[in-house]
């Protein structure tokens, strides 16, 4: 079932980390927020993950995960977006084998939230999905 159609056709405009939360803002007032791990894949490899942010890895500058994501997908639009029926993981496909994955890693805590046009879809603990109406 496609719960994430609002993402299709959108472009990623910004990625921001505030405290433990990550915010991915797309065009047309669509946003994804998460405190859980996420990762960017391209050409069959991991480009960067939330776990890498700020790590030096022996480089002159520590990894800036937000910049890496934007550099990889900023000129692309979302082709498909799917939610794994078992885990609740959200995969946003930008085409050309470039995918941004928002992972659920808990049987109890919520992970990603998708805000689109005033409604909100939340990945609950254990991977169930809930659709919240506007207040």
């Amino acid at each position: 079932m496609n719960y994430s159609a609002a993402l299709v056709g959108q472009r990623l405009l910004s990625v921001e980390k505030r405290d433990r939360s990550w915010f991915f803002s797309l065009s047309e007032d669509v946003r994804v927020a998460t405190e859980s791990p996420w990762r960017l894949l391209s050409e069959g490899r991991i480009v960067v993950t939330s776990e890498d942010d700020g790590h030096p890895f022996g480089l002159p500058e520590p990894v800036d995960a937000a910049s890496k994501v934007l550099a990889t997908v900023s000129n692309r639009t979302v082709e498909t977006a799917e939610i794994d029926a078992s885990t609740g993981d959200l995969t946003v496909d930008f085409g050309g084998s470039t995918r941004l994955q928002f992972l659920q890693m808990s049987c109890g805590y919520e992970s990603w939230r998708l805000y689109a046009h005033g409604s909100e879809t939340i990945c609950l603990g254990a991977g169930e999905i809930a659709h919240f109406l506007k207040r």
Binding site: M1, S106, E128, A130, L133
Partner: protein
Amino acid sequence: MSVAEKKGRVYETDDICALRGEAGGPDRFFVRCTLAVHLLDAPGVSRWGLWAEISGEDSVIIRDAWDDPGQDRLPPMQARLSNRVQGYPDTIDLPVSLRLTGPSTRPELSFPADSLHPFVQECLRGVSTHRVKEWLDGMASE
């Protein structure tokens, strides 16, 4: 409600909302819950996220039990739906039962089996995945 009035009368988080009464009226309390609807043609459930209005007494019980691992042993509470669901007769104030489920999970709602409201009847019967898509399309077009 204006932004200034909201600032003075409303306390809200992603989980709860308290609305100070107007002109000496009673305060009102709301909790963000989920409502599970069984899928008829796929495993599992689809979940609505809905606000429910609770009494002042129950708001104290919920606040005190919010971080209690044993909160799911509390008896269900009577509440009222606080969202309008598109495509049905008005769903505001539909009676629901609210049950706490755990410190990291949202309270769950359930409808009384004898309700004649079409939204309640459809939820109690279960729905197809196609129907869930129609619901989501309705949410997107609100």
